[in-house]
């Protein structure tokens, strides 16, 4: 359920089913079972109505190399039967928005990666869609361009377009989204506002490298404010449910009194990466079937 007017992020490891969901919601793939409604229309019965109400920025670049910037937008506007004057006005307006006015008659093959992406976003907005689907819109772009594109997205969203975003950049999801869903193996595992998800994880993470990690774990487990401890290759990560900056001195004392020497300390507020790894249970590139079933169990528990 995506609420009208929000930026909604859809996160999941490769192969989790994100693109399949987008393809179904954008009516490129038929829905197998269940139902879905976009802008009030059912994907099964009203695909044409949906196509009129949505805009899409695809994961891969889908620009005709041999058309100019203006022609790309012109073609798109025509596909949606926009009247000529409205089309022309919108083209000017959007080229200004994504700062491609100077490139209007440049073939897209001569554009840089960032320009191409901006053009695609402009194209997605040509028809003032109710819902804009963006499938990894900032993949492979430099930080400047990403930040610029985020600005466009916020602008667009403010003007009333609901944005359905998928991304592998957790910071992107964190900064932009009103709400996030994490999916794996075709199931939604968790949904919530970014801060809710991060809080639910346990507030802060304290990373410790000590002379005896096992002993350190044993000592810290007793603390009521410690929610859990994870083993890393060289150290341990302690998840705490209070503000770590105040707990850290106490932890250091406990360890020192217990005869454990602390070699390194790092305090980290949880990031969306942590949330993501926590819920999907593995790093992105691991495709272990056994760990996968754990994720499904988690989904089932919820």
């Amino acid at each position: 359920m995506v609420i009208e007017g929000e930026i909604f992020s859809f996160l999941g490891p490769n192969g989790a089913g994100k693109s399949t969901v987008i393809n179904i919601l954008t009516t490129l793939l038929p829905i197998q079972k269940g139902s879905a409604r976009i802008a009030g229309f059912d994907v099964k019965t009203d695909p044409e109505k949906i196509r009129e109400s949505i805009g899409i920025v695809f994961q891969e670049l889908t620009l005709d190399r041999d058309m100019t910037v203006r022609e790309i937008l012109e073609y798109h506007g025509r596909l949606y039967s926009m009247p000529k004057t409205e089309r022309q006005e919108r083209i000017e307006e959007l080229m200004k928005l994504v700062e491609l006015e100077g490139k209007r008659d440049t073939l897209t093959k001569h554009l840089s990666g960032g320009m191409k992406r901006r053009l695609e976003i402009a194209r997605g907005l040509m028809t003032r869609p109710k819902v804009l689907f963006m499938d990894e819109p900032t993949i492979g772009l430099d930080p400047q361009t990403r930040i610029r594109i985020w600005d466009y997205m916020r602008d667009i969203n403010k003007q009333g377009t609901t944005i359905f975003l998928t991304t592998h950049y957790m910071d992107e999801a964190d900064q932009l989204s009103d709400r996030i869903s994490i999916i794996d193996h075709g199931e939604i595992i968790v949904t919530g506002k970014p801060w809710e998800l991060k809080n639910a994880l346990g507030e802060d993470l304290i990373y410790l490298e000590t002379s005896d990690n096992a002993a350190a774990s044993g000592l810290l487990k007793e603390l009521s404010s410690v929610r859990g401890i994870r083993e890393k290759t060289k150290g341990i990560v302690v998840m705490v449910n209070v503000d770590g900056t105040y707990l850290l001195p106490e932890i250091m004392d406990i360890l020192r009194n217990g005869g454990v020497r602390v070699k390194a300390v790092n305090l980290k507020k949880p990031s969306m990466d942590d949330v993501f790894v926590h819920y999907t249970g593995r790093e992105l590139r691991d495709e272990g079937a056994e760990k996968g079933s754990v994720a499904i169990m988690r989904a089932g528990r919820r």
Partner: protein, 278 residues
Amino acid sequence: MNTGFLTIYWRDMLRFVRFRTLLFASLVQPALWLAFFGIAMSNNFDRLTATLPVLPGIRAVDYLTFIGAGVIAMTTLFTSLFGGTVLLFDKNWGLMRETLSSPIPRIHIIIGIGLSGMTKSFIQASVILGFGLLLGVQFFEGYSLMQLLVSLLGIMLFVGVFSLGFLFLSAAIAISMESPEGMQAVITLLTMPFFFTSNALYPVSSFPPLLRALSTINPLTHLVNGIRYFAIGNDFSAIGIHYVYTQSEILVSFLALLAFAGIMFLIARWRFSKVTVT
């Protein structure tokens, strides 16, 4: 009325004029066919047939004039059969996702590609006609201006319907295939039987029965009939053979082309309804 097909048409024509080399090649290639093959074969055939008795009272045309119609037909066949390739590239490069996720009905994609291919065929046919007349093809001999206009219209009508049929076929193949190489192979394979069982380059009257039957159902034969009827006349001899076309024969040829285009359209529509591009 939804004019989505005009959008598809617009884009395809845009690309056609943008690729200067492609445009140039597609116009020069048929002219070269006529120049090299036409003149070379023409001299051979005219010498071979020089000893044949001339049919009295019947206009005899030389071989270059005879295959002038064939070269127009052949060029239309090749261009149209390859005309759908753009769809395969669009599909493979992801460009078709934009079109397929837009409100435009799929049938308009087929129609748009058909119309742009037809336009290209018109341009090519005109170039060959003009070039052929320069080379000495005896088309439109003794025609009044009115007759000339009617003839040109007739030729374009035949060329148009014929090219639509093969463009629909090409679109159906393109949308069903995965690789450009595969498409190339299939189309090259297809052109052979169409080309060689037709009356484009030689008469079919001395074919063995099976080949004759094939030539009768071959759209290319019907196109060539139409072009010869309009460009040369309904009563002439070439290579020692007497050609007489009645109006009803020409009408049958035209209807055959219409039927062919119709069937190919249905096939293309069916293939497009099956397509999922993700």
